[in-house]
Symmetry: C2
């Protein structure tokens, strides 16, 4: 039996690297997809390229979409500062409709490849409170995806896999380590510098470093 | 009371121009959104710009996304020919996940604008059999959209308006004429030339010209 194909959304961060490792370990031939969306933490795309190769993705593509044109997020608008302390509510780093858009790109590519499996590293436990990281969002997108495609006319078997959705950051780290993910090459920081060094202060850095602490393993992150 | 804001997806074709006219007539302040997605019928973006201005959109933006990188459609892949006679099944002009992606962009912009209304010109009667033009697709996207946004955390009132979804092409034309749409400036052709002249042979041209015939009004389309 030939391996099933999967499209894996790969940001270059800790979570999506672990998801790719999980998908590869499950026997999928993985087509990794990163998105250039005007993010200021651009170094993550370089990280994604290395991770895709290291974990054995059969292909890695970077697609472009100009979310910066929409604005409204500190991740795409240089005029908005990245918070370096906890904030109440949904933070300014939230990018409107980002996961809807990324999943739509993954869906289009999956349809062209003939893949019925999309993997995404969303997480609703140690996360930043983004609405499009919740399990009910993923379930709703899966229902949409089954209607949205050619195969959907006859009732598609398309599945959106979000294996991390109910895991803690520490559990994600332990899972990744078990599968050989080199977390030193992943970048989670919202404002990593051109060399890929993390700020250590933003929401994403704080969640990540707390995760390594909770997991009881050394934090290999390169801090600026 | 101030007017409600709406995001209106505007391709530059006959259907979306009519939708914009309907939204304006309903009292919305309309932000028109066109997408540059690697389509070969590029003249439609120029048409969209004129239509947005003529119908009184308060703003018109063109966002870019590289669907050509996904391939699989004659609309984005120059190596695939546009069919010039009816074909069985879902035609090669179908662009994988296109409406999911366009609606995701509209959703992101709506969220930034603080709009709860998105208009889209999909039509499931005189159409090309695309899965993402069906009413059940639109309803499913609306459910997704209500979960996907900041407002969705508290339960958003977001509505996806698809006023043409059950109308015939002739009825769409009559509605547009009544609202002052200048159909001569719209472009529906899948392979319009650089001057915006239609081929008269593709699926979209055939549906459009049959629509004018059924409506009993002269076809103002400029054919090559």
């Amino acid at each position: 039996m030939s391996a099933r194909l999967a499209v894996v959304l790969l940001s270059g961060g800790l979570d999506s690297a672990t998801v790719l490792a999980l998908a590869v370990a499950s026997g999928y031939r993985c087509h990794a997809l990163s998105v250039r969306y005007g993010q200021r933490h651009y170094a993550e795309l370089e990280a994604a390229k290395k991770i895709a190769a290291a974990l054995g993705a059969v292909e890695h593509r970077i697609m472009s979409v100009d979310l910066a044109g929409i604005g409204g997020s500190a991740l795409t608008d240089p005029a908005l500062a990245i918070p370096e302390a906890p904030t109440a509510g949904i933070p300014i780093t939230y990018v409107p409709a980002r996961n809807t858009l990324f999943l739509a790109l993954a869906l289009g590519w999956a349809e062209v490849l003939g893949s019925e499996d999309i993997f995404v590293g969303v997480n609703a436990v140690d996360y930043s409170g983004y609405p499009d990281c919740r399990p009910e969002f993923i379930e709703s997108f899966e229902r949409l995806a089954r209607l949205a495609t050619k195969a959907g006319v006859g009732g598609a078997a398309l599945t959106i896999h979000a294996p991390l959705v109910r895991m803690s950051k520490a559990d994600i780290i332990k899972t990744g380590l078990r599968l050989g993910v080199d977390f030193a090459s992943t970048i989670s920081c919202y404002q990593a510098d051109f060399a890929g060094r993390a700020c250590g202060k933003c929401d994403s850095c704080r969640l990540r470093s707390a995760g390594f602490l909770d997991a009881g393993v050394p934090d290999p992150t390169r801090y600026a």
